[in-house]
């Protein structure tokens, strides 16, 4: 072994050691390429494992369809069946239920976070109802509202509204007192403080709250559709189970996940566009 070769060997070794140390630094730094590499590993390994397990014959297709089966199923669902219709009705229910929650929760939450008596009146009750499982309300909702669209929307509303009120109130309470007092010393009235300071200051946090509760709305939608519907993605999943179409169950779950992901990304995009001061440094 020549002197040179062993020298470069040592160099490589120390380079690897440095790289290793840099990657595993607490709150360390990762370049964009490195991030994508690790992200790809995190996505591909489970996918490959699924693919391998499904195609190896270890597990019955009835229990574990392969990725290809699921893709084909989505295609047929789209071509021969009413995928768009199913997705559309689900999106519609989520959106209406969610909007009904937001329209009521945002003003109420702002008032709770601003005025102490309103907090004292509403917060304990809201806190209590929040711990009642929304799903357990389904029989009651069916009794009161019936089994049409209203019941699905009502369940989404029950699942998101009370959480949203408390989160909005908390967002509003986080507005620094100095911002409010500065406005008071400049002669702002209460109405102006709420609309020009508190609401403006809390807006980014409010949009995040809406984004998070949107995710929960999807969970309640699927539950509602499995129990009390004859359309929608949740209902499609339930029906697939009856016919042992495991690939369609997979397809439904993945589609719901995808739609949720897209909505989440749209919220994030809106955040970046609406609040440029948070992203400029």
């Amino acid at each position: 072994m020549s002197v040179n070769a062993s020298y470069s060997g040592i160099r490589t070794q120390s380079f690897l050691r440095q790289l290793w140390r840099r990657l595993w630094t607490i709150r360390g730094y990762l370049s964009q390429k490195e991030f994508l590499l690790f992200a790809a590993v995190g996505m591909l390994v489970p996918f490959a494992a699924w693919w391998f397990l499904a195609n190896s014959g270890i597990m019955d297709k009835v229990f574990l369809p392969s990725p290809m089966d699921v893709l084909l199923r989505i295609y047929h669902w789209f071509e021969d069946d009413d995928l768009v219709g199913d997705a559309w009705i689900s999106i519609y229910r989520v959106t209406v239920g969610f909007l009904l929650s937001a329209v009521l929760a945002v003003p109420l939450g702002i008032m709770i976070g601003t005025y102490r008596p309103i907090q004292a009146i509403f917060e304990p009750l809201t806190d209590f109802i929040r711990y009642m499982p929304a799903v357990a309300f389904i029989p009651l909702v069916m009794l009161w509202v019936g089994i049409d669209e209203g019941s699905k929307i009502a369940i989404i509303w029950i699942g998101t509204f009370f959480q949203m009120v408390l989160m909005v109130a908390e967002d509003v309470r986080r507005v620094p007192m100095a911002q409010i007092e500065a406005a008071q010393t400049m002669g702002a009235g209460d109405e102006e403080i709420v609309s020009l300071v508190i609401f403006q200051s809390a807006k980014p946090a409010l949009l995040d709250t809406l984004r998070i509760t949107m995710g929960w709305a999807w969970t309640y939608l699927v539950v509602a559709e499995m129990v009390a519907a004859n359309s929608g993605l949740g209902y499609a999943i339930l029906k697939a189970q009856r016919f042992l179409q495991t690939d369609k169950i997979f397809a439904g779950i993945i589609l719901i996940g995808l739609i949720g992901l897209i909505m989440d990304q749209l919220f994030r995009l809106a955040h970046r566009k609406s609040f440029p001061w948070l992203y400029k440094k």
Binding site: A178, Q179, G187, G189, E192, Q200, K203, K280, K281
Partner: protein, 282 residues
Amino acid sequence: MDNKIQINAAGKVFSTDRQDVVALQDVNLSIGANEFITFVGASGCGKSTLLRCIGGLETLSGGEIRVNDRVVDGPGVDRAMVFQNYSLYPWLSVVDNIKFSRRLKVNREGATSSEVEVASGRADALLSLMGLAHVSKAYPNQLSGGMQQRVAIARALLPKPEILLMDEPFGALDAQTREVMHDLILHLFNLEKTTIVFVTHDVEEAIYLGQRVVLMAPRPGRIDTIYEVPLPDKRDQEMKLSPEFIALKKQILSRIRETSGMHTNQDLLERMTRQAEDSVSI
């Protein structure tokens, strides 16, 4: 000197569920028009409370504060306030922060278009006076701490307040930036002819800026001594090294130590040093 602010037997008690804190007790003071008065004292002696009572953000439990001979019963546009930090609006650009008060009803109602124009010109003037013209479109979080406080001061000055109340406005700045801000605020004081009430815990700052320094003492919060500053009205940094300045600084510092009831326990220090030495020798 005409009286701008008159404080008569002012008292303030904070009642919490556990105990009552006497933040101010029998405070009496006259502050003249176009006076620069500073307040120092150990933390918790009621400096902020007094300033907030003048500003109308806090109500007295006893006595009264008069501004232009009218009893204070809430905030008013005649008194502007500058806080230590977090008071700027991060969603507004620098210039919009400064112009914020113009969006409020109190300033819009009855304002003629020529008045609005003057105000707009004033915003520009303040921007360049404060050295902010080149960042007028930036957001506050893009600026350094010193620049942010300049924005806060400009915003407070925009509606031409008669009184400027400042609560440790430079407390979060580094020493160099603070010196620059001192000379800037003195310059503004000469230009704007406002009355400035300035709270700080930094004795040097209090002497350098103030025509009078009010020393407050804690438990209960009260005025202890009022010092006239033996320096000419036109200040410069060199004066900090003058014998008068240093003598006054010594006097105030030792008085703060006496009133705060905090003294280093010399015995305890020595005992700890001995123990440390012993453990090393073992």
